[in-house]
């Protein structure tokens, strides 16, 4: 039983675990298996609220908000792309396309606002490049292999269905891995290489991302539910985008609750 408790505690973010991990484990061990659902809810809660993790400085919290913002933006982009490519036959019309283009523009503005800035030094550039190569090597190679295969003259209609499925799956895995790894570049490089934006800019960025994901999610969900029949994937993607909006709202509330820096 203590093995399960210890394994669950390992799922907490590092900063939280270093400060509270052993105490959480003691409490969970004492309470037994009945505490596991609460523990799991606590783990999810902490991952969704990086602002409240123990931090050495306000700047560290700002870096976490920036990373959270980039993660949300990339997840929203991934879901929007998935809806456009895979959620056929969602009915298309000019208004919906216009709304989705608007959401993409908002996402780009949000990323520009929340993204940490590289420090203007050669060392910072080298560090950033090194982390980018390490994190993005696998998705880049996988994606490039798919592109090369598709453009090598292989006839999709003559290929076995399993090959087509594998190629499509590899493409989405490459995009998904890229989406996961880009925020990890910023968590890896640390304060020596990048500077987070100020609080006001971060707030504006998170608000922008919330607006983009809310508009996109509502549009896709609405079209999936009210169009020609119910589209399960489209509805799931719309709901996912609305969940990202809730994550942004939680981050904004956490930022509001923070006391001003001394």
């Amino acid at each position: 039983m203590s093995v399960v408790a210890r394994s669950l505690v390992r799922l907490y973010p590092d900063a939280f675990r270093e400060r509270w991990g052993s105490l959480v484990e003691d409490e969970a061990r004492g309470a037994g298996w009945k505490s596991w659902p609460n523990l799991i809810a606590g783990i999810v809660d902490m991952w969704l609220h990086p602002v409240v993790w123990p931090a050495d400085s306000p700047a560290q919290r700002q870096r976490r908000v920036a990373t959270m913002g980039i993660t949300v933006a990339l997840a929203a982009w991934f879901l929007g792309h998935l809806a456009a490519e895979q959620a056929d036959p969602l009915p298309a019309d000019g208004i919906r396309d216009g709304v989705m283009h608007g959401c993409t523009t908002l996402l780009l503005i949000g990323i520009a606002l929340v993204a940490p800035r590289p420090r203007p030094t050669l060392g910072a550039a080298i560090t950033l490049l090194g982390w980018a190569v390490r994190r993005l090597a696998v998705p880049t190679v996988l994606g490039a292999a798919v592109v090369v295969l598709v453009h090598s003259g292989v006839d999709a209609d003559a290929s076995p269905p399993t090959l087509c499925t594998a190629v499509v799956a590899a493409w989405w895995i490459a995009l998904g891995l890229g989406t996961i790894q880009i925020p990890r570049i910023f968590t890896g490089v640390g304060a020596d290489a990048v500077v987070p934006p100020g609080t006001g800019r971060l707030r504006a960025g998170v608000w922008t991302l919330a607006g983009a994901s809310a508009t996109g999610g509502a549009t896709i969900l609405g079209v999936s539910v009210t169009g020609d029949g119910f589209h399960l994937l489209g509805a799931g993607i719309g709901a996912g985008l609305l969940l990202l909006t809730a994550v942004c709202a939680g981050t904004l509330r956490d930022m509001r609750d923070q006391p001003p820096a001394d």
């Binding site: 939280f16 400060r19 509270w20 052993s22 105490l23 959480v24 003691d26 409490e27 969970a28 004492g30 309470a31 505490s35 659902p37 609460n38 523990l39 799991i40 809810a41 606590g42 783990i43 809660d45 902490m46 609220h49 602002v51 409240v52 993790w53 123990p54 931090a55 919290r61 956490d254 609750d257 923070q258 006391p259």
Partner: protein, 99 residues
């Protein structure tokens, strides 16, 4: 915050003085009849620390006790006064004698 909110309960438990996590939960059990789950308790402690309503005491090893900050004491008092005001008004309307 609400009366059964984990953060309020932790602040109430710390009103008497510094406690470590396990003792905080024991105080909450005495207050409400049940312990908070570990995710709720330590999530509340992390939030309160990030808002600088509580702070750790130095040099106490792994079981570092935490205590209310002056700001935490002020917030707790304000919240409890607001709750007491609502509770008194509600009980009066129910015709319950408060004496």
């Amino acid at each position: 915050m609400q009366a059964n909110d984990a953060q309020t309960l932790v602040l109430c438990a710390l009103a008497d003085g510094p406690l470590h996590g396990y003792a905080i939960n024991t105080a909450i059990e005495e207050l409400t009849g049940e312990r908070l789950g570990p995710g709720s308790l330590y999530g509340a402690l992390a939030r309160l620390e990030s808002k600088r309503l509580i702070e750790p005491l130095d040099g106490q090893g792994r079981q570092r006790p935490v205590r209310l900050t002056p700001r935490g004491r002020e917030v707790l008092e304000r919240e409890l006064r607001a709750m007491a005001h609502v509770a008194n008004a509600g009980l009066r309307r129910l015709g319950v004698n408060l004496a």
